[in-house]
């Protein structure tokens, strides 16, 4: 099995070094899909349904087509003619300027027959509620997961805690909108897409347009975030292509912020009824959960319970609930922040009933060896021993507290292909059809190759984000680094083998006699027979060397553990929670780049704070649409709300590359809720923990 060389012999991996595209990004040279503007480009837009449920009776685009500057219009973009959420695609148009485009959207005449709807989970679950799909009940069949003997487990318990928790719908809100630029050259189509999957979009667009796949090329050089909502091809890509074909000109179609909120994914909400049993000895004996969640018109609104802890007997029954809202999409650790929010709180509730320190209680019930270390490291860093021993006991209105919660993740690496080209002048190119959704992929594509070939980063050019390059999967599930880095290493190893053969031929020995020292190659025991990198590459004469490689076993692994400790200050007069400090202990395996790894953890924590305290999709039950579909009213944690974040990278390079992007957002909300309890003596079982909810909870207590 393949192996990484020991960390102490590494030049780049395990260390901190800047992103290769950093100068392009800060100078504005980096071109995102949003920035593309080929000559003659038109602007495209999609008209969306204002109704949560309606039949489209008639779409008249005659006034649209009469508007000067309009070059194409489509009235057949909806596949069935029945819209099921406000924000669903109804028609599309392309025009010469964004201003004309905005005018054109107002000129479509659409006749709808509106239908009854249910936009929130409570309404959708009621007897006789309007059905989202005529042929399906709103509440799905139960999905049950169980292990052991639940009854026996609860019978053994000395203490049982029951609690209900709720989490909200969170919307991805990447800074760069979803969208595509579509350009035809005869029958060939090139799409610039803000995507987490250039190969996936290529397949999706070829399917949607019934085109041969080899006529479609998808490019994404830089992108402004996705968090999972850009894993799948969007309807907008094929729509842009059709508009471009009709107009005979390139069309750029970026969604506006409102459509972003309504139609391109979200994290499902949850209602969770939990029950936990434990013995006086502090061992959990049983756990049961009944959960509901809505993924809008989509499915997979599950809550990943039980989670983290070692529970011998459990049963989890889950129901998806359809609502007239945009379908959920994978969102940074799907199902997990919801689960840890409730799990780590009920663990704290149990610890209190048992009279145990929450830390001690966790150590007793957590079988993961990495996390056993991490809990202790985090507790030490936050100063757990100094925490308020009695919840809510601070004098005065400002109350401080500490809390903790766990992190976990599963997938590792999988098939990815790559190609390395060595030029006679010694320069190297690495091609891989992955993409950089902002995590630093491009940088480690270069650094892993440089590391293996013994070169400087400047000698290696990383080429990614293009479906013309060897196939790699979508950037999701924190699988990108564990998939791509091994493929690059494998390709680099094979490149070395091919170069060793060339050197061996040059010296008239067998390749087995060649020996590498960084980028210099020598014949074993004949130090004079030596070629530096440049000399070696010059042997290629005029033919660049092209070598292909792929993901191999041994360089990555699955399974991630982590934890976070949080300190908060709660103003009991205004209800405001200020997160003052977060200690994030993150399991990182072999760190590819310390800087970008820390960025991922910082970002995960910030998004977790935002989830805990701010973000909330608010649906109006009367109009059936979202009332805060803009960045003023949909609150996302800002820089001033961001506390000191102490990142502790728990690295075990021998485990190879593991995923780091998703796990750090999992524990934050649960840890904050536990800290708020420690501060105030009041438990918040619903997020976001807004000031009014804090005050209500405080009022109930007193």
């Amino acid at each position: 099995m393949a192996k990484w060389k020991p960390l102490e012999r590494m030049d780049f991996l395990g260390k901190a070094y800047p992103r290769v595209e950093g100068p392009d990004k800060v100078s504005g040279r980096a071109k995102y899909t949003q920035d593309q503007a080929p000559a003659g480009m038109l602007y495209g837009a999609i008209l969306t349904s204002p109704h949560a449920a309606a039949k489209i009776i008639r779409i008249d685009d005659s006034k649209v087509r009469q508007l000067s500057g309009v070059k194409a219009a489509l009235t057949d973009v909806h596949p069935t003619g029945t819209v099921r959420y406000a924000g669903e695609e109804v028609a599309a148009v392309a025009a010469t300027t964004p201003e004309i485009l905005a005018d054109a959207l107002e000129l479509f005449e659409v006749q709808y027959e509106t239908l009854p709807f249910a936009v929130d989970i409570e309404t959708a679950m009621k007897e006789g509620a309007p059905r989202v799909f005529a042929d399906k009940a709103n509440i799905s069949d139960a999905r049950v997961e169980e292990e052991g003997d639940l009854e026996a487990g609860f019978a053994k318990a000395d203490v049982v805690v029951e609690s209900e928790f709720r989490t909200q719908v969170q919307v991805h809100t990447p800074l760069e909108a979803h969208g595509s630029l579509a350009m035809w050259n005869g029958e060939e189509l090139t799409i610039w897409d803000s995507t987490q999957a250039v190969h996936g979009v290529r397949e999706g667009v070829a399917n949607a347009l019934e085109m041969p796949i080899n006529k479609v090329r998808v490019i994404c050089q830089h992108m402004g975030g996705g968090f999972g909502s850009k894993l799948q091809p969007g309807r907008y890509s094929a729509i842009a292509a059709r508009l471009a074909k009709q107009a005979g000109a390139p069309v750029k179609l970026m969604l506006d912020r409102k459509t972003e909120f309504l139609g391109v994914g979200n994290r499902p909400n949850s209602i969770q009824k939990l029950k936990l049993g434990a013995g006086r000895d502090g061992r959990v004996t049983a756990f049961s959960a009944i959960t509901y969640g809505t993924a809008g018109i989509g499915t997979n609104a599950g809550v990943r319970l039980p989670i983290v802890y070692d529970i011998p007997n459990y049963r989890h029954e889950h129901y998806d609930v359809f609502t007239n809202a945009g379908a959920a999409r994978p969102f940074r650790a799907p199902g997990c922040p919801q689960a840890v929010f409730s799990m780590d709180q009920i663990m704290d509730e149990m610890a209190e009933k048992l009279g145990m320190d929450p830390l001690e209680f966790r150590l007793k019930n957590d079988a993961n060896p990495a996390r056993q270390q991490e809990w202790r490291i985090g507790a030490e860093k936050i100063g757990w021993a100094k925490r308020n021993p009695k919840p809510g006991s601070d004098p005065g209105p400002l109350k401080r507290g500490m809390g903790m919660a766990a992190s976990i993740w599963w997938p590792g690496g999988r098939g990815t292909q790559a190609m390395i080209t060595v030029y006679p002048d010694g320069m190297v190119e690495v091609r891989c059809g992955t993409q950089d959704l902002g995590t630093g992929t491009r940088t480690y594509v270069a650094s892993v190759a440089a590391e293996e070939l013994g070169l400087e980063m400047a000698q290696v050019r990383a080429l990614i984000g293009d479906s013309d390059y060897p196939k790699s999967g979508a950037s999701g599930g924190s699988t990108t680094a564990p998939s791509v880095a091994p493929a690059i290493k494998n390709t680099a190893e094979k490149t070395r083998e091919a170069l060793a053969e060339i050197a061996a031929k040059h010296f008239g020995v067998s390749p087995a006699q060649m020996e590498w020292q960084k980028s210099t190659i020598t014949v074993k025991n004949s130090p004079a027979k030596k070629l530096g990198w440049k000399e070696l590459c010059s042997l290629l004469d005029t033919e660049p060397l092209e070598v292909r490689g792929e993901w191999v076993e041994g360089l990555s692994s699955a399974g991630v553990a982590g934890c976070q400790f949080v300190e908060v200050a709660v103003d009991t007069l205004t209800g405001r929670i200020a997160v003052e400090k977060v200690v994030a202990v993150a399991d990182c395996g072999l760190v590819l780049n310390r800087l970008t790894t820390e960025s991922q953890i910082n970002g995960g924590v910030i998004q977790g704070i935002s989830y805990a305290l701010f973000e909330d999709r608010l649906m109006d039950p009367h109009t059936g649409t979202m009332v805060n579909s803009d960045l003023e009213n949909y609150k996302i944690s800002g820089s001033i709300e961001t506390p000191e974040i102490e990142v502790i990278i728990y690295d075990e390079w021998e485990r190879g590359v593991i995923g780091v992007g998703e796990p750090p957002t999992i524990p934050t909300a649960g840890a904050i809720a536990n800290a708020v309890y420690n501060a105030t003596g009041v438990r918040l079982r619903e997020i976001p923990m807004t000031p009014d909810r804090v005050l209500l909870a405080l009022a109930k207590k007193s």
Binding site: P98, E99, L101, A102, D103, E106, D256, R257, L573, T574, R576, F614, L618, V627, N628, N633, K635, S637, G638, I640, E641, T690, P691, D692, L695
Partner: protein, 292 residues
């Protein structure tokens, strides 16, 4: 996210502006910093036929000392000046203390004093502070100039006592009496957000350290800035100690205001915040007055 077509005019003087306003009346909108107007146009919530851009009317962009310790602020003075210009620290420290709560630095760089006051957003800080400071506004129209005291100026949600053909030219901040103190506080979800509730107070004491005059004004709890008149009556002639302030704050929250509910806060929550903030600003204003 683009505005509907409009005609753009860029006058260079107040006179020119007034004649354009006379010509276009209701059809025209004045453009100051654009931080409120442009978003509403981009969302097509407002579709004015004519935009009269004030940014070249340099005679409106000034700050200067007013009579006996007061301050005159030209309508086109940028909000950011309120933080840094020494005249504010000297003559209107309450404005300086309030400024960081108004939106974000980038917005204050463009946003103007006149724009915020003319816009009359019930959640805006400056209108409330103007009431607390007993400010007056100079208004120019075809018929000449008139001055409207702040307390008569804000007449409803996004509504003022100005006519569409009129122009706000200057804000007059009178000097505070001796032994005066001031304070501003608000609660917002995030820093820079419009407040869920906010309060400004000015307290002036007599020689016996009793309350001679006080003003307590709230934002985000009504259709415009709301003066808590009942509360300040309770303060008159009193030494504003803890008990007195608590009682005044209670009156303010329970009687003087009638907040509404929206997606950001319920009426009840706003009342609670108003009570908490009233105690805080009255207390701080009193302490400052005592030390003045």
């Amino acid at each position: 996210m683009k505005p509907a077509p409009f005609k753009y005019l860029a006058p260079a003087s107040v006179e020119e502006t007034l004649s354009m306003l006379t010509q276009y009346g209701y059809e025209a909108k004045l453009l100051a910093g654009g931080q409120s107007l442009i978003p509403t146009m981009n969302f097509r919530l407002a579709q004015p036929a004519v935009i009269i851009d004030l940014n070249r009317v340099s005679e409106l962009a000034y700050m200067r000392p007013g009579d006996s310790g007061g301050l005159c602020i030209g309508a086109m003075a940028r909000q950011r000046e309120g933080e840094y210009h020494p005249l504010f620290a000297e003559r209107a420290p309450l404005i300086r203390e309030t400024m960081p709560h108004v939106a974000h630095p980038q917005i204050r760089n463009r946003g103007t004093f006149g724009g915020s006051i003319a816009h009359a957003d019930p959640a805006a800080e400056l209108p409330a502070v103007m009431l607390a400071l007993n400010a007056g506004f100079k208004i120019r129209g075809r018929e000449g100039e008139r001055e409207i005291p702040a307390r008569d100026f804000f007449v409803g949600m996004f509504a003022t006592a100005m006519q569409p053909e009129e122009l706000l030219t200057e804000i007059l901040i009178p000097p505070l009496p001796p032994r005066s103190g001031w304070a501003f506080k608000e609660v917002a979800r995030r820093h820079g957000d419009y407040a869920l509730a906010g309060a400004a107070a000015v307290v002036s004491l007599n020689e016996q350290q009793r309350c001679r005059e006080a003003r307590l004004v709230f934002l985000s709890v009504g259709d415009g800035p709301v003066e808590a008149r009942g509360a300040v009556q309770a303060l008159a002639g009193e030494i504003p100690g803890e008990e007195v302030i608590r009682a005044a704050a209670e009156t303010a929250a329970a009687v003087d205001i009638d907040p509404g509910s929206d997606i950001h806060a319920s009426a009840e929550f706003r009342r609670h915040l108003a009570r908490v903030l009233a105690v805080q600003v009255l207390h701080q204003a009193y302490e400052r007055a005592r030390r003045a």
